[in-house]
């Protein structure tokens, strides 16, 4: 498959291996993050006049879902400020590693039972249950962000490397999953070099850098393997590799979604949680049903419990179970030696493009309608009547309101075709092309439902 190593360009190599550019980017992100927490706590409680809500849930979300995840994969994780304080405490340093090996502290490994993304699935679901409140109340957003920083820091003091990012971050789970579709990757150039290199400085760390903070062995980042899920693109392995044996490649979209790269059950479940949440959010937040919105918002009331049970049942039970049955039907149509679980996991990876398309389409509607709140908030971040940049009076004006529905349909059709094509590849790989039909029927039905929710 065609790839292009960006590190051929000296300036890109310098930019990625030098610690300062990344540190500056992370410091800016941390500054914005702390400011958002501050604004959420001391600023106006009116969400769309508070920096915390507008910067995080409109501006950051737009950048994340419309640009970063589809095109740059896990790049956000490279600059995310949430693990920074914890990493500094863990490393005992801000910039580079402590040179004296004896002074480096040892930390415990994350419990084996949780070395997957099940906790991330639970964390995302929890956020989803309370999302109507988190997305609209600045103080709740602030406490959630602060809580994430504190939990990340606490885990860093006990467990090695970025345990929070790998196994607990509610956002990192889906970024990782969908980054398999992105056209960027870090991969080993020559695997033989890694096999012969006994020090494994990329994993163990050296005087040049830390061992992989994401707890993966960079020597195993082989082209064609699904590595993007767990690689945070922090570029640390570029610094520690003694042989310049790591490439930062531009590649085809979705290169990780190959029949041989089966996703695990926890990741398959994440695909359903994301697809199901996109459907539920589209109905609740973008639909005309006021009672649904109020049910999602009035936490602790009977309607909210109804909403919570419906969300949990839909994302954790109904969608995965119906898909499991679909894969069973597929196997009846064209039997293979694969177990039911293997079938389920294999075909679940075909849902990733449609899931990402659903979130992009959802974000189009939400972001373009509300992005104009950004200008007043930049001038008056706390809602205190300031006018720092003379933009406080900019009126709310939705943009591209005529074009958004057509864009949403196009994106969903793109997701349908990509998911359908992936399904075919998986079926052909196992010499069972008739298995395509039921899975495609499922993808088709979900697409129609999404189109109906967005433009009907």
């Amino acid at each position: 498959m065609l790839k292009y190593n960006l590190l051929q360009h000296t300036w890109i190599k310098t930019l990625t291996t030098n610690r300062w550019p990344l540190l500056i980017a992370r410091a800016v992100a941390l500054g914005g993050f702390v400011f958002a927490i501050l604004a959420g706590i001391i600023g106006t409680p009116v969400g769309n006049h508070n920096f915390a809500i507008v910067a995080v849930w409109i501006a950051w979300w737009a950048a994340l879902m419309l640009v970063i995840v589809p095109f740059l994969g896990r790049s956000w994780c490279a600059v995310c400020p949430i693990p920074m304080p914890g990493e500094w405490l863990q490393n005992g340093a801000v910039l580079g590693p402590i040179q004296d090996k004896n002074k480096r502290k040892k930390f415990r490994r994350f419990p084996k039972i949780f070395r997957n993304i099940w906790l991330q699935n639970v964390a995302f679901t929890l956020l989803a249950l309370f999302s109507a409140v988190i997305l609209t109340r600045p103080s709740v957003t602030a406490w959630v962000l602060l809580g994430m920083i504190l939990i990340a820091a606490g885990l860093s003091l006990v467990y090695e490397r970025r345990a929070f990012c790998r196994h607990l971050c509610p956002v990192g789970g889906f970024i990782g999953l969908y980054s398999q579709l992105a056209p960027v990757e870090l991969r080993v150039i020559d695997t033989q070099v890694c096999k012969a290199h006994t020090e494994k400085s990329c994993y163990q760390g050296s005087e040049n850098g830390f061992g992989c903070p994401w707890n993966i062995y960079p020597g195993g980042m082989i082209s064609g393997k699904s590595v993007n899920t767990n690689c945070g693109l922090c570029m640390e392995c570029l610094r520690t590799c003694d042989y310049d044996n790591i490439a930062l490649n531009l590649r085809a979209f979705g290169a990780d979604i190959q029949p041989q790269n089966k996703i695990k059950l926890d990741e398959a479940y994440k695909a359903f949680i994301m697809l199901g949440s996109a459907l539920v959010y589209s109905a609740v937040m973008l639909g005309p049903w006021g009672s649904l919105k109020n049910a999602a918002y009035q936490v602790g009331t009977l309607p909210w419990f109804g909403y919570a049970v419906a969300l949990l049942a839909f994302t954790w039970v109904l969608l995965p179970v119906s898909f499991y049955l679909i894969t069973q039907i597929a196997n009846r149509l064209n039997p293979t030696s694969q177990s039911p679980r293997q079938n389920f996991e294999a075909y679940a990876s075909a849902l990733l493009p449609l899931g990402l398309a659903a979130w992009v389409a959802f974000s189009f509607s939400f972001v373009f309608a509300n992005i104009s709140y950004l200008w007043p908030v930049l001038s008056d971040p706390f809602g205190w009547g300031w006018n720092l940049f003379q933009t406080a009076g900019v009126a709310w004006t939705p943009i591209f309101s005529s074009q958004v529905p057509a864009l949403q349909v196009l994106v969903l059709i793109g997701g349908l075709i990509w998911s359908g094509n992936t399904t075919q590849k998986i079926a052909i790989d196992r010499n069972a092309s008739r298995q395509t039909w039921p899975v495609m029927a499922f993808i088709f039905a979900v697409t129609l439902l999404l189109i109906w929710l967005f433009v009907a």
Partner: protein, 173 residues
């Protein structure tokens, strides 16, 4: 150097492929842009009362015919609410207990979101209703394109590859 027969086989495959792909593309373009048949209904004047309260419009969905002269009477039941029509880019706002009117000609067909345009509470960004003007052609075009995509993936592509394999036996180089 490839043999002459292989060269012609490749050309034939390319030509057949281009012909088939252009057929599918043409079908997609027709589905996306062809005029949609819509029954003509004599335009009329309509006055529609809309009550805005606690993050919802009532009625939540309004249906009119293309060309209708529509007057929306917006009444707010609790706090100040607004009403903005996507696509038409028009808005009004109403104080609690007051009614404001917005008159416009429904000269664009389709389904448009109604949004509250005045910050009215936490769920304000999600206070949404719908205005249907005539048929929702985008919805049907979307369904049509989705169906065409599935047909292409499930029926056309496998059939084309099968036919190609039968028509063009392997040639030794």
């Amino acid at each position: 150097m490839p043999s002459r027969s292989l060269y012609f086989r490749d050309l034939r495959i390319l030509a057949a492929g281009a012909q088939s792909v252009s057929g599918i593309l043409l079908a997609a373009l027709v589905m996306a842009f062809a005029p949609f048949p819509e029954p003509f209904v004599e335009p009329t004047e309509r006055t529609i009362g809309v009550m805005a309260s606690s993050f919802e419009f009532s009625p939540a969905e309004i249906s009119v015919n293309p060309g209708d002269l529509v007057t929306i009477e917006l009444t707010s039941a609790d706090v100040v609410h607004g009403l903005y029509i996507d696509g038409y880019d028009m808005q009004i706002s109403a104080d609690p207990g007051q009614t404001q009117t917005l008159t416009f000609t429904a000269d664009k067909s389709g389904t448009f979101r109604l949004r509250c345009s005045v910050t009215c509470g936490d769920l304000h960004p999600f206070m949404i209703g719908k205005l249907h003007v005539g048929s929702n052609t985008l919805l049907w075009r979307g369904f049509g394109l989705a169906t065409l995509s599935v047909f292409t993936l499930l029926v056309w592509m496998p059939a084309t590859f099968r036919k190609r394999n039968q028509d063009t036996p392997d040639v030794e180089i």
